[in-house]
């Protein structure tokens, strides 16, 4: 049940130069959200920017009735969001979309979470669900540089094994996260892949998964207007022609379902 709600902000904390962690009261969403789902946030009461901003649910606390959003300030909407302070009210619509499909069988009891940059956002709630289901979970997390890496402690606190890469080698191994994954798989390890990050990364990962015949779920981004399946703006090509819609068919797709 998607509901529009106006929640009170509990905190809005700057974690790095561009990354912020927002906690907001949204009891219904906190109860219902599944890993990989997103919300549409309205960051202003005026008409510029006009559209809502899609943000993954980073974490949720059904008991306290709060959700966490992790966002990067890249443009007007996310900048405006970073101006919100405790006690202010925020208009949120969600939970939206089809999230990650959690592994059920025993053969999938290894999960490889692969996150590039702000692609880390949906991974924490996913990790929380996986760990609760006794799935052994490993996070491979790549970013540009050490100071861009956030929330590693939150994953470790859940008992997730974390391995990192940075483009400049300032934290973890030097290189990108798909190479990190390839190296890891080299050692004979396996598991189902759950990935989120920039499209070039997801594309590389898609090939790798195909090559190694591994199941992979990709969380995609697209420009969205409605987030409700009504505008048909968020098209992603599918093999053989035609399009699916990121907001309702996704944002999470099986790697073979989409053409990036």
């Amino acid at each position: 049940m998607i509901s529009p709600c106006t929640g009170t902000i509990v905190s809005n904390e700057q974690l790095s130069r561009t990354i912020w962690l927002l906690r907001v009261e949204a009891p219904v969403i906190a109860q219902q959200v599944e890993p990989g789902q997103f919300v549409q946030v309205r960051v202003t009461s005026t008409y510029d920017p006009l559209l809502r901003t899609p943000l993954s649910v980073h974490d949720s606390d059904p008991d306290r009735g709060t959700i966490d959003l992790l966002y990067q300030t890249v443009g007007t909407s996310t900048q405006l969001l970073s101006n919100y302070r405790e006690q202010m009210r925020l208009d949120i619509l969600g939970p939206l979309g089809k999230g990650f499909t959690l592994p059920t069988g025993p053969k999938s009891s290894f999960a490889l979470l692969v996150a590039g940059g702000i692609g880390i956002a949906p991974m924490l709630l996913l990790a929380r669900f996986l760990m609760a289901n006794q799935v052994s979970t490993r996070l491979l997390y790549g970013a540009r540089t050490a100071s861009d890496m956030v929330r590693i402690d939150a994953f470790e606190k859940l008992g997730v094994t974390v391995a990192c890469s940075t483009d400049d080698g300032s934290y973890g191994v030097r290189g990108n996260v798909v190479d990190l994954l390839a190296d890891f798989l080299q050692s004979g390890a396996g598991g189902e892949i759950f990935a989120c990050g920039p499209t070039p990364m997801l594309k590389a990962l898609q090939s790798l998964a195909r090559e190694r015949e591994l199941a992979a779920q990709l969380s995609l981004e697209a420009y969205m207007a409605c987030g409700l399946g009504a505008c048909l703006g968020c098209a992603v090509a599918v093999p053989g022609g035609g399009y699916k819609h990121v907001c309702t068919d996704g944002p999470v797709f099986a790697a073979w379902e989409v053409e990036l």
């Binding site: 998607i2 509901s3 420009y223 409700l228 399009y243």
Partner: protein, 303 residues
């Protein structure tokens, strides 16, 4: 005070003057969770074509100042799918359903109109103005002669109330409206989107896959109001106004300028309950002003 919100668009009676605009409310069903669809004046469904259409290549949407560009390219599952999958549900929900149709040829429009002569369809809206389909759209809506031809042809193929939706990308909107009226339109709806473009200075490419797209949202409201007002001076058939309506106040502005009803477009994306809020807001305004019927507002602008 109980106010009367009902209006008529030719032979079509609406319980209130607030409809949702084609392409911005899906098939209504996507918004079922936000309110009672049967309580709306009507739902104009996504532009429907004879054959299914995949639509344009992404990126299809970009935000602009107080507006958005879209180049969806009429993605839709085709008229047959609509009739078998969506129409029965809409009928069951008691929705006043108006079908927006788009064709590449006059013949396609006529075929569509015939197929859509179905119980549960309250009216047809002829989309002769979609700017995104190179083969059709633009050309139909920008020439008086062609508008006359297509409307006259479709008129012969349907008994349903026929609403003709105009493109704003023309020099003389009143002349186009008169052509549609002369050809037998029961009502005129306007405006469709303004043709626009957006550019990414980092990639030095157009942002939309289709290069150009249609501009909608609050940014275009002043243009839409002006055109509704001009058309209201030019034709006798009822007008359905749209373009940037976000609030009841916006909707009332269109009514004052001469619209008998309005459609809510991009606002549905921003706030999915907009249509219901606008209905309530109009009722509140009438109460406050002591006006018994919304029909008294229509065209009552004092110059």
């Amino acid at each position: 005070m109980v106010v009367d919100l009902s209006v008529s668009i030719g032979s079509l009676q609406l319980k209130n003057p607030v409809l949702t605009a084609s392409g911005t409310f899906g098939y209504g069903l996507e918004f079922r969770r936000f309110g009672n669809l049967g309580a709306l004046g009507g739902v104009v469904v996504k532009g429907t074509t004879l054959q299914p259409r995949a639509g344009n290549k992404p990126q299809r949407i970009v935000e602009t100042a107080a507006g958005m560009l879209n180049s969806i390219g009429l993605e839709n599952p085709g008229v047959d799918f609509f009739l078998t999958h969506y129409l029965p549900q809409l009928r069951d929900l008691g929705v006043t359903t108006i079908v927006n149709l788009a064709g590449n040829t006059i013949d396609e429009y006529c075929q569509l109109a015939e197929r859509l002569q179905q119980p549960g369809i309250a009216a047809l809206e002829l989309n002769i103005s979609c700017p995104n389909v190179k083969a059709g759209g633009m050309a139909f809506g920008t020439s008086e002669e062609v508008v006359y031809q297509v409307v006259q042809a479709v008129r012969r193929h349907t008994k349903l109330p026929l609403i003709v939706k105009l493109s704003p990308n023309v020099t003389d909107i009143a002349a186009i409206a008169r052509a549609a009226e002369a050809a037998g339109a029961d009502a005129i709806s306007l405006i469709n989107t303004l043709l626009g473009m957006a550019v990414d200075i980092r990639t030095r490419r157009p942002i939309l896959g289709n290069v150009v797209g249609g501009l909608s949202g609050p940014a275009i409201k002043p243009v839409a109001l002006r055109m509704v007002w001009q058309v209201a001076q030019a034709v006798k058939v009822p007008i359905i106004g749209m373009g940037g309506i976000m609030t009841a106040s916006d909707a009332i502005e269109f009514l004052l300028c001469g619209a008998s009803a309005v459609q809510i477009g991009a606002a549905n994306f921003v706030e999915p309950t907009t249509a219901w809020r606008v209905i309530d807001g109009i009722a509140e305004y009438l109460e406050q002003q002591g006006i018994a019927s919304v029909r008294e507002l229509i065209g009552s602008l004092q110059i």
